[in-house]
Every structure is written in structure tokens, then in C-alpha cells.
Symmetry: C2
Subunit: 217 residues, 2 copies
């Protein structure tokens, strides 16, 4: 068995715009998260559940990133929260300038909380700072427990990991404890939640964490 | 709700090397597939099951692509099949030159069948021809039935779609018929299999298709 390795290039221009976004969000008193995962891990379902819990008390908005379609933004729009869809037309990640441009079009006063749901991709979005307060990586139990080891960049850069689809553990070959161990071996400071958007498990704890991070104005 | 779209760039240099690979594989009488999916859809499990069924009758080898770790190659090595691990160190897809270089190191005589397991990513690898005979896209039932619509490039370029984890349908909000409809609306020529690496459902049909595509020498 041979092993071949490749160097990767790093993009810098994006970081300048990301810093501008971060300054703008801070000035507005906005808490922002960049929600990341593979396709189908349940990002949009988690956003829906989060909105259901928080929307009466928290002024929030959503930026949806997708390669194609506005299916996700339509799901969010039904819940009565301001939403902008970014369609990347094949692009594999959001970039800071896309967030900057779309935020201008987001008509929302006195915003407290912004969720940026990135393109479903456990690799590329890790390299692109959008100006968020923190990255939140979602991993579902159906994906196996080795994902933090195989896609480490995302788990190194995230502040929070959510283990989703916890209700499916009885049916799949996955141990949430092993996901946690693997993730913590890469990033010992990760805050971890276990959730199910089907049963509602863990959603209150997750929303409590968001609440505790909102900026006082 | 606003919609913002972005143009994408297309890479060409890769296509030249891919064409060289394709000529080489053809000259060697090798049937090659490029296996693609999100992280955790079950690519490596499917490769394992395929090896178990075919290895006594078919000379086969595997090239494993991963962002980090050689966990997948170690799984394949246990089954006694030649395997090379490509570690991309953060790179989100395999490129034709990586396949070219790694194939040189693959010590395997009279090869008939080569599986290239790409990096887990439903976006970027669609843009990179490796010189394979066909792309096979795997989608698991736990990812929801909208994936062909949201990540169309992969389903347009694939010749075969495998709906994996079919045993989990009773536990998830996913209709395999809808995945099929969505995929066929994008690519009416897709050959479709439904498999479970847990129960073995559909594995014989999939391996039968491979057998029927091996080159006569």
C-alpha cells in the first residue's frame, strides 16, 4: 500500500472581506454562525427547529448557500424569518463577498442572530472565513464515527460540533462516543451537542447555547 | 427572499491528463469507475462488498482518495486486494495526475477492474475527469431525497446512481422513488441500483453490472 500526498494552496483575499463582515456584524450587535456539514446531515432541519424555538424571542435571519435550487430558502421562508438564498451555480463553498452582498439585501431591523447555512460540503468551506463569530459543524450518526479524523480541517476550525440524527443510532454502525473522542482528539475545545430534529432531543440545549451568546445591547 | 448567483470557472489542464489515463486504461483492457458521494454515504463499505463478491473471479485494484488518513486503504488492504491511498492534505477532489502517479505504484498484473474511490464530496469531484470509464454516484437514503436537485452536476455526469442504505428507509424521511424521479429528471439515462451494505440487498445486481462491463481480452 503506497501513500501519495499533495500540498494545498491557501486563499487570502477572502480573509480581508471576511474581516470587514466581522466588523460590520459586531457593530450591528449581531451574533453569527456559519453552519457546515456534508450534504444531507440535516443543516436545514436544524435551522428549522432552531427557528421554531427562538423566533418569538430573538430577531433572527438566515442566509442559505446552495449549489443549485432555492429549496432550502423556501423551507425557511415558510417559518416567517427573513432569508436570502445564495445559489453558487456549482461553487462548492460560500465566500465572504457573497455573504457581504447578500446581507445588503437582507431587510431585517434590529437583528440579533444570523445563521449562514453553507453549501453541503465537509471539505472546502473550512478554508473560507465568512466573518462569522463561529463555525458550527454538524455530523450525522449515519455518516460513521470516523469523519472527524478523515475531514479534520472542519473540526479544527469549528467551535461547536453537533451530532445530529441521534435517534438513528440503534440502526447504524456508529458510536456517538467515538465521534466525540475522535473530534476532541483533534480539537479539545469543541463544545458538543447531540440532537435529533425528528424527536427534538438536544434542541433546547443547542438553542440555550445560542441565547447565551447573543450580544447585550 | 432574494437570489444571488455566481459564475464558476472550468479547469482544462486536468482533461489532458485524464485523456492520457483513459487511453492507458483502454490499452491495458481495464474497466475503471470513479466512485463519488458525500462523506459517509458508504463508498468504502460498497467497495468492500464488491470485493467480497468479485475478487475470486476478477483481478481488481482500488485507488483510495481521502483528505486525510489511510483508514479506508487499510480497510481494503485487509481484503487482499492491491490498494493505493492518495492523501490530498485538504484537497477536496482527486485530479487526473494524482491517479496517473498512483497507478504507476499499483503493482497488479492483468488487472481487469479498477475502482477509484474519490474524496467524500458531492460537489467538486464532478468537475474533474480522471480518465475513468464512468462515474458512479452513491447517495444514501439518510441524506434526503432532494440531493440530485441540489447537487445536479454529479448526477448529470454519472452513468450509474446507487441508492445506498436502503435498509434504513423505515427510519428516515426519504422516499427512494423520489430520489429516482429527481435523478432521472436531471439525467434520464442513469442506471440505478438500490443497495444495502448491511443486508446485502442489491449487491449481486451491482456486481453483475460490473461483470457485464469488463473488457474481453
Amino acid at each position: 500500500m503506497g501513500v501519495l500526498t499533495v500540498e494545498r494552496k491557501i486563499l487570502q483575499k477572502n480573509d480581508v472581506i471576511a474581516a470587514e463582515n466581522r466588523a460590520m456584524f459586531l457593530q450591528l450587535g449581531l451574533f453569527t454562525i456559519n453552519l457546515l456539514s456534508s450534504p444531507g446531515s440535516g443543516k436545514t432541519s436544524l435551522v428549522e427547529k432552531t427557528i421554531e424555538v427562538l423566533k418569538e424571542k430573538v430577531n433572527m435571519a438566515v442566509i442559505e448557500g446552495d449549489v443549485q435550487t432555492d429549496l432550502d430558502a423556501r423551507r425557511i421562508e415558510k417559518l416567517g424569518v427573513p432569508v436570502i438564498q445564495i445559489v453558487t451555480n456549482g461553487g462548492c463553498h460560500l465566500e465572504a463577498n457573497l455573504v457581504h452582498e447578500s446581507f445588503k439585501n437582507l431587510i431585517a431591523d434590529h437583528l440579533q442572530f444570523l445563521i449562514i447555512e453553507n453549501v453541503g460540503n465537509l471539505v472546502c468551506p473550512a478554508s473560507y472565513d465568512l466573518g462569522e463569530d463561529c463555525k458550527v459543524v454538524l455530523v450525522s450518526t449515519t455518516e460513521g464515527d470516523d469523519k472527524p479524523l478523515k475531514y479534520p480541517a472542519m473540526f479544527i476550525k469549528a467551535k461547536v460540533m453537533i451530532i445530529n440524527k441521534i435517534d438513528l443510532v440503534p440502526y447504524v454502525n456508529c458510536k456517538p462516543d467515538v465521534i466525540e473522542q475522535n473530534a476532541l482528539s483533534i480539537n479539545p475545545d469543541l463544545k458538543i451537542f447531540r440532537t435529533s430534529c425528528t424527536t427534538g432531543e438536544g434542541i433546547q440545549e443547542w438553542c440555550g447555547w445560542i441565547n447565551s451568546n447573543l450580544r447585550v445591547r
